[in-house]
């Protein structure tokens, strides 16, 4: 075999990352969207031109059909031209070391010397318990047991569609160290509205610096949580041990070991 210099790029350049389709760096992207135009060949051309305008080359409408009179749905392929410098990416992460369930229990016993109380709920309009259950419920999620199985942790799971008011009242009643807010539904940024309402109420109740306020959900990152005024945020791939590791270390950092009562903090 002679030297094969015809196939040039065989390695991904991490400073210029673009999508991978059939071959490296071909930039292929699949898009699905709806345009408010009547079904027909003009519609197909319209979708093509739109994708081109988005900066994709070789737009290809692979599928389209009429959704309702005056609306057409498309699946379009295109080649992306933009690249990202992967090596320059910095993502804010929750600080502290992550321990497993057993280590967390021991660490709390040694360093806090009392039980840590947390109250969690899926708030306001959100009817999904999947997130809060994954963190609190005994059986946990994906092989990671929930807070109910942790030693020295007293969790309260209030379920779903809990008004912010009730969650705060409960946290005050049981002198919680931390509040866990879960948001699964994100249509029309409803999670932003709910999370903002929560943090405003906590602030109005004079609790903001007396309680650790965390949130979690499939569309939540630590960075977003911080922008919304939360102490920490937990997104996909985070389990009970991540949440508890953060909370217990924060309790010690704030010197709340001897302050189980909110009034003393």
């Amino acid at each position: 075999m002679s030297e094969n210099k015809a196939t040039a790029t065989t390695q991904a350049d991490l400073t210029k990352v673009k999508p991978y389709g059939d071959t490296l760096n071909d930039g292929k992207v699949e898009m699905a969207f709806t345009l408010p135009v009547p079904y027909g060949e003009e519609a197909e051309e319209c979708a093509k031109q739109y994708v081109k305008k988005l900066g994709f080359e070789e737009p290809n409408v692979t599928y389209y059909h009429e959704l309702a009179p005056g609306y057409t749905f498309f699946v379009v392929y295109g080649s992306a031209q933009q690249t990202i410098d992967y090596t320059a990416i910095k993502v804010p992460k929750v600080e502290g070391t992550v321990m497993d369930r057993v280590e967390c229990g021991e660490w709390i016993g040694e360093n806090v010397g009392r039980d840590i109380t947390v109250v969690g709920a899926s708030i306001e309009s959100d009817a999904h318990t999947v997130g809060i259950d994954a963190i609190i419920q005994m059986k946990g999620f994906h092989g990671h047991f929930g807070l109910e199985r942790f030693k020295h942790v007293v969790p309260y799971n209030m379920g779903s569609q809990v008004p912010c008011e009730e969650l705060i009242a409960k946290a005050k009643e049981v002198n919680a160290d931390a509040i866990l807010v879960s948001q699964t539904v994100t249509q029309k940024d409803i999670h932003i509205m709910n999370l903002t309402k929560m943090v405003e109420l906590v602030e109005a109740e004079g609790l903001r610096d007396k309680i650790i306020l965390t949130c979690g959900g499939p569309r939540i990152s630590h960075e977003l949580a911080q922008e919304l005024g939360y102490d920490a945020g937990f997104g996909p791939g985070k389990y009970a041990e991540h949440v508890m590791s953060y909370i217990m270390q924060e309790v010690v950092k704030r010197g709340w070991q001897d302050k189980p009562l909110i009034a003393d903090r």
Binding site: K90, P92, P163, E165, E166, I168, A169, K172, E173, D189, I192, T196, K197, V199, E200, L201, E203, A204, E205, G206, R208, D209, H222, E223, L224, A225, Q226, E227, L228, G229, Y230, D231
Partner: protein, 339 residues
């Protein structure tokens, strides 16, 4: 113009409070900074959360950056320090932390663009303002994040600039009504009826729900929060009860279980208007039933800025929106900062 000169003579710190995300807070901030440059006022700029990033984290729309002139003070988290386009001299490393490192108080040595960030906790913002005054600024501007209205808290700043805009609703009438509702709440009358009660409540960190009779005698209720406790509050209202002090949040669940007669009889006293979480519609309904609220300290609105354009893909005619606003809000300056 001379808007900022007027403001800086009246106030030492101004919070920019958004009625909603994308209501034009950062645009308003840049407008004020520009005014400050023209009028020779030394500014301190901070934020509740991170601001001045080119892309909005929540909605992904483009956001204007903050351009600062030489001599201004600004708070920047350590990780963003190097990203600043302006030349910054670090004056102090503070103990306040953000998602992106500890906060630095910097003086701008070389004018340019900066990503501003600040503490996420209101109490820390307060202390930070004091730190900046020590370095000799004339006026501190605090940029609120998202639509965090708690930044309007009168303990945080002397007055606020309320940013409102088309993003609130597709109906111009709703935009005006929602804005007027917030203005009405913020300007609620202060409690001055009974000096004895005022003195009683001004004791440090008094945080208990308390009822007062006509003589100003206090009875502290055994309640940890008013939230969801309207039944208990109703039971605590006796024949001679005149005022109820609620230290925390004022929501529907605080008043919903109070009988109409009792509601007519008493007046609520709150710390400040940011404690009220009652929607425009419920507010009107409760007022008709006789709900009366006074606050220990209300909020001064220095100006209202209006953004007639919404990132959701619609806009109003600027003149129409501004004149509709001015019709309802007669004694506050209304400005379109995008002109």
């Amino acid at each position: 113009m001379g808007l900022l000169k007027d403001l800086s003579q009246k106030y030492r710190s101004l919070s920019i409070v958004g009625m909603a995300k994308n209501a034009g807070k950062t645009t308003a901030l840049n407008f004020l900074i520009e005014e400050a440059m023209d009028e020779g006022i030394t500014l301190g700029v901070t934020s509740t959360g991170r601001d001045g990033e080119t892309q909005d984290l929540v909605t992904g729309t483009e956001k204007p950056r903050v351009y600062l002139d030489r001599g201004s003070l600004v708070t920047v988290p350590s990780q963003l320090y190097e990203l600043a386009d302006a030349g910054l001299e670090i004056l102090e490393r503070t103990k306040y932390s953000t998602a992106i490192g500890e906060l630095l108080i910097c003086r701008v040595e070389d004018a340019g663009y900066v990503q501003v960030a600040g503490p996420v906790i209101a109490a820390e913002t307060r202390r930070l303002c004091q730190d900046m005054f020590r370095y000799g600024v004339d006026l501190v501007l605090i940029d609120g994040a998202i639509d965090r209205k708690s930044v309007a808290n009168p303990e945080t700043s002397d007055a606020i600039i309320l940013s409102t805009g088309a993003v609130l609703s597709r109906s111009l009438r709703n935009v005006v009504e929602e804005t007027a509702h917030v203005v009405e709440l913020y300007q609620l009358a202060e409690f001055k009826e009974d000096q004895k009660i005022s003195d009683f409540l001004k004791e440090d960190d008094f945080e208990h729900i308390t009822v007062f009779n006509g003589e100003g005698e206090a009875r502290v209720l055994d309640l940890i929060t008013g939230l969801g406790a309207s039944g208990e509050i109703n039971d605590a209202i006796k024949e001679d009860t005149k005022y109820i002090f609620i230290p925390g949040a004022m929501t529907n669940s605080v008043v919903s279980g109070i009988s109409v007669n009792n509601l007519k009889q008493v007046e609520f006293i709150l710390k400040d208007p940011t404690k009220i979480f009652i929607s425009n519609i419920d507010w009107g309904r409760l007022r008709k039933k006789g709900l009366r609220i006074k606050v220990m300290k209300n909020i001064e609105i220095a100006a209202i800025t209006v953004n007639p354009w919404s990132p959701k893909g619609y806009s109003f005619d600027s003149d129409l929106l501004i004149s509709a606003m001015k019709e309802v809000l007669t004694d506050i300056p209304v400005i379109d900062v995008r002109r």
